[in-house]
Symmetry: C2
Subunit: 496 residues, 2 copies
């Protein structure tokens, strides 16, 4: 008897029918989607963790997941006040507990007051709980030095990814040479490439300038746009500031130039500003696109279309698992805004616990509140630690030959460039792997350190990088960085 193999043709030969849904018959756009942050390297990390837990011997005792901006998973503690408010909302009997401060109780009461049946178990409006939208608007107004924000232009979301995909969905249209083109930075956060593949839009790459600390250059935007105009209709410009994976913080001048460019070229602006609280470098400061746009005055302030995105997953709170965020739209056609309202209503509403957490972030305790001091202390502690780790990362990597790391001005990642010996590059190609994927897989197998290769974010041809979070605990980070640098040296020797 023939040995039984699992396989397409074999199955058919054995008398089983083809399945209705196969790789051949499925949605081809979905097949093209790639998402490196949770890709093959992370699946391998999972397997290694399982092997370790089963007692299999490895050259390391734990897998360090430095692949994803997941602060709590790396040991960061939740902000106490945020969790107190959320617990009070989930289980209102706690209003009688002496262990919760008065301001947390008050906030929970006011949130539940705005919920159907005074319960987090009711659906909210599809754009979010109304008073929370108002708090978001007030937060933006404070952040932007008094420039007003309209609660009707705020849409709460299931993390920023959800809102970004919603806006892209509205913008995607046309066929052939009239398909919507979307300019995205390279390196990029791969949500963008994944969403564009799924929506069958045209990805238009503009390169950030590694030699100038990943600065965005309008001349490069213009090059990318001109080249794209031959084969699609570029209508959208995506910006990530502070940068992911690249960590740069854009100057005010740069933002002005980008807005002017978008206006002249008739591009809808999407500003991914989820790391707005994560700015560490001296001299760097976060400027929101909304603020700069408004300060530039007409015609920019009155006509340039903008959607900007924020999240509770990053910043100092790191509440990834709750899935919360918001977007603000500016100068959007009211009829389109109604269409967006309709579209989000099909998914009913963003999760209420995430909305609650967002409310705490945008309307935290005031100086006169009992929780103010602790809230501020916890927040500053997290941000100070991140700033120190950003600096340490840059420093340790730049001491290593063959690794060059731009300053981590903001966000949560370093994206160092690595030299790989030609023999390693050839070996990778033999294995059908990108050279930095090959490097990262070897790194994982030998050290347990899980980082994402540059090929998952995009990079200039012939350059190699990896993205590593700065989130591991301070006492772990230095040895980790050194171990990684040493592995790179060993890898280089091995393939020289």
């Amino acid at each position: 008897m023939a040995v039984r193999t699992v396989g397409h043709n074999q199955a058919t030969m054995n008398g089983l029918r083809e399945k209705v849904l196969t790789l051949d018959t499925m949605n081809a756009c979905v097949k093209r989607v790639e998402y490196a942050v949770r890709g093959p390297i992370v699946l391998r990390a999972l397997e290694l963790e399982q092997e370790l837990s089963q007692g299999v011997k490895k050259p390391f005792t734990e897998v360090i997941r430095a692949n994803i901006g997941d602060a709590h998973a790396m040991g960061q503690k939740p902000i106490t006040f945020l969790r107190q408010v959320l617990a009070l909302c989930v289980h209102p009997d706690l209003q009688n507990s002496p262990d919760f401060p008065e301001d947390a109780k008050r906030k929970a009461r006011s949130i539940l007051q705005a919920c159907g049946g005074h319960s987090l178990g009711a659906y909210s409006n599809s754009s979010g709980i109304q008073p929370i939208r108002e708090h978001v608007a007030q937060y933006i107004q404070r952040r932007d030095g008094g420039i007003p924000a309209d609660p009707n232009n705020i849409f709460l979301s299931t993390g920023a990814s959800d809102a970004i995909v919603t806006v892209l969905k509205l913008l995607v249209a046309g066929e052939g040479r009239c398909r919507t083109g979307v300019l995205i930075p390279i390196p990029q956060y791969p949500l963008y490439s994944a969403a564009l593949a799924e929506l069958d839009a045209v990805q238009v790459d503009y390169y950030l300038d590694e030699d100038r600390a990943w600065a965005l250059d309008v001349a490069e935007l213009r090059r990318a746009l001109c080249q794209a105009r031959g084969h699609c209709l570029p209508r959208v410009l995506c910006i990530i500031n502070p940068g992911n994976p690249t960590g740069q913080v854009q100057t005010r001048e740069c933002i002005e130039a980008v807005i002017r460019f978008a206006f002249e070229e008739r591009l809808f602006l999407m500003a991914d500003e989820v790391y707005q609280d994560n700015v560490y470098a001296e001299g760097s400061q976060f400027h929101s696109f909304k603020k700069v746009l408004m300060e530039m005055g007409p015609p920019y302030s009155t006509q340039q279309e903008l959607a900007s995105f924020h999240s509770i997953s990053k910043g100092y709170m790191g509440e990834c698992g709750l899935r919360g965020g918001y977007m603000e739209v500016v100068n959007m056609d009211p009829a389109v805004q109604q269409q967006m309202q309709k579209l989000v209503s099909v998914r009913l509403c963003p999760p209420l616990p995430g909305q609650v957490a967002l409310d705490v972030v945008v309307s935290p305790p005031e100086p006169s509140d009992p929780s103010f001091a602790q809230f501020q202390a916890e927040k500053q502690e997290v941000l100070a630690q991140l700033a120190a780790k950003a600096k340490l990362t840059e420093q340790v990597f730049n001491e290593a030959p063959g690794i060059r790391c731009n300053p981590v001005q903001g966000a949560m990642y370093s994206f160092p460039r690595i030299q790989l010996p030609p023999r390693a590059v050839r070996r990778a190609k033999e294995l059908g792997q990108a050279p930095d994927m090959f490097f990262c897989l070897r790194l994982l197998e030998e050290t347990g350190i899980c980082v994402v290769p540059g090929c998952g974010f995009g990079q200039r041809e012939g350059t190699y990088h990896f993205r590593m979070t700065i989130l591991p605990a301070a006492e772990k980070l230095r040895p980790l960085l050194e171990k990684l640098s040493q592995f790179h040296a060993k890898f280089t020797r091995e393939y020289s």
Copy 2:
């Protein structure tokens, strides 16, 4: 000077440019999306609530939102144990509180043990927390009389809607006459029509038989399929059981016949079973498609592809706001399943609070646990109330001339047929409204009762219906049903 008007052409004439994103340039598929459950009638209800709160006089004192299955908003209390576990997960300091039972504490500890950094703030695996997937599999196995379920085939989700759209997304392919056709019941839950419009798939309607209590008839499936084959490639059959909005519970024989049909016609089966705990009528019983499929044996059990969906928003818990659910896939091509895994990873993970709530639903307290008695009492109380309200609804409506209501065997809605006088139909057409939309809007304006017209779900040409939830509190429901019946009588007189 000309009076300033807001308008497209006017704007252009005033020297303002066209926006980049307009109704003309936006995604045409999104424009075609409709979602009646949160449509115009609900927006009007919102306005009326605002007017009431501002002291505007109306013929009613409150708006009754009987448009959506939102149990907590209608006053249903959360299940105590579920909220205790969730509060303990959100705020682990509560482990020291004497106010929480030992089994809730134990469950919370075991959930947090499986979370990154032991925090709900960490991302989970994209398919959900592993032990929760295992509990779901055990739950299915118990529910289905011991037929095994594989945790690797379970994907947790952000409510059922999210999972349904994910599977449809995989299935949609082709162009022109080869576009994927998806058979859906009429009347249907409008998530389906909305998702198909957005994905640009072909909606293929099969009609449920109102005269036989909304039974599903295979001859009608065959008719719909044959007719569709002329202009698309039908590859998917969606079933909603218990029915939404129609409330029927399918017999085992019917399910077998549907499975046989799907197998013969090579259709991927999608079974929306979110109301599986909501079965009220004597003689009615829930049979899962998975169980029937497996009991039918080969080739069905080994080859028929199926995805089935469940949610924490319905049942006895009604935790809509937490956004949780799962799907189980059966006989799916492993390569496609990998593609699905990849696709869901782009959105990172379902919200962790919803995962926690799901865990409580699928692995509730056992008879030996301290919370068992209260959990069961609360659950049975909700279900008994719903059963009584289902019966009451049918009874009151059927006493009214011109209203005919099938038994509400399951789910959470009645979908009565209403006679509308020809003059009302003509008047509606003059206003550009569907006749039952006209009726429902008038009902809302005069009584404050918000229900969804049948046109939002689909119905046979020339018939009119509305969907009303059975969720209002018992003491409110009878007067509400009577008020609605009286309004229908008055409306009929007015237009006769």
